[in-house]
Amino acid sequence: MSDLSTLSHVYKINSDLLEKINNAVVVLKRAQYKLPGADSLSLGQVLDSQKLLSQFLTVVLQDLSPSPGKEREDFMVPSSLIERLNEAKKGELEYYISDLRQANDHLNRDLACLTPKDMTLLDELAAITDAETSSIFRKLWRK
């Protein structure tokens, strides 16, 4: 009855999404920049991270497009996150979508194809997911 019930649900969805995206970005960065711990990464871990981020970008691209398409079974992106992205990229949405498409294309090819610009884009998406998660957290915590 209180909005807390819905907030707690929405928070969990966002927080889980942040965990997935952030961890996948860490794996790709560790592998690509050969950071300590890169040697213990398996090829499967890297490929799984590329796949997860590609699924995420595919849904984001679909939801950012002017017409929402059919729901996808493999990944759920909160609509509030899409609204936040729309707001943040207002005025440059076309270019942003084009950059996202390019990053998604690189993710689907090979780790070596990922450019610093792609990494910045993925980091930015993680940061926006974090901002959305934290804003819901503040509402929950102040109850």
């Binding site: 807390l4 927080s15 942040l18 970005v25 560790r30 711990g37 059919k70 509030s80 609204e83």
Partner: protein
Amino acid sequence: MEDFLRGLIFDLRKRCLTSQQVLQSKAFPSDMQDYVVSIHAFLSNIYHDIQLLLEDPAFGAPQLLPNQLNEYKRLAQIVYLIESYPLPVITRYNEEDHQMFLLCKNLATQINYPLPLPIVSTFSREYYWSEVRFNLISVPVCESSFLLGLPDLCHELGHILFFHHERDFSFEFLEDLSGYIEKEKREVDAGRQPPSYKPFYEHIYALWKGPWIKEFASDMIATYLVGPAYAWANMSLCSKMSPNIFSPGDETSHPADESRMRAIFAMLRVTRVQDAVEKIDQRWKRYIALTGNLEPPDYHLSYPDSLLTSLANYIYQACIGASLRMFTDQKQSSGSINIPLLLNEAWDVFLTSPESYSQWEANCVNDLRAALNR
């Protein structure tokens, strides 16, 4: 920044350990034992993730620092939520909580609730709510002495069910929702609606897909479980708290109260109790007239009957799929009190004999308490 972050993570690890120690420091009542174990396990997982972060050989690498900060924040938020919600309930569990727990336990058996029992606390300052991740429901302190608001317990169970089975409850409906939004946007493209309606439909889509479907679905699950009693409880709640039934205070958390009542009616129709719908709708329309609230222009575009009916059908199927027992299938059995039946009887008595209801309710509450403690 690296040192600062490391310090924060050490501090968080200590908070996590302290919460675990609180849970280990005393014996808890039998109601709570499984729950305490589940929260302890939650904290152990967080502790494990904190250790992973601290032991990362690339901790503080400039390329990873933003992500490590994200991860710290995520973990810190969960620890603070545990401190804010389950921990105070566990450490201050009292007799009133126990009585509500017994009531919830009986109700859960009668409706064939398929998930672990939630813990129920009685210190809510915000009517009924649930913290779905921590399987926790909170209700006002005197609630176990009354019957008319108890259908709302089913709404909160609905939130928890929806949280665990979101895809089963919503997947097909979301396709209908997309279809509706697409159709209306084509109307805009064809010039039959103003261009400014396009962002409006995008906003509506986000609200439906986000908070609204959760509220509507929880209303519909509660209606499936306790039938007309839930509709009456909702009308009673509106008459106490609704600022304007066509306009939610904050549309990012709840849809309009009027639309929620239509959602409840849609489920009652699916469960084939048309007579009850007509009876409640008659009073509901009189209530709307009394409030003087007016339907804003284009209100129906946000909450079309077609979407509410579609959702009611899918929720009904999902409830059957989850083997939940519908209110029409409840039966009185000797030696126990059937709660869904009792709640409907309470509303019948309240509506037919408002003057004597209070005494009737007091007797029933005593009998119920005795039966629950047997």
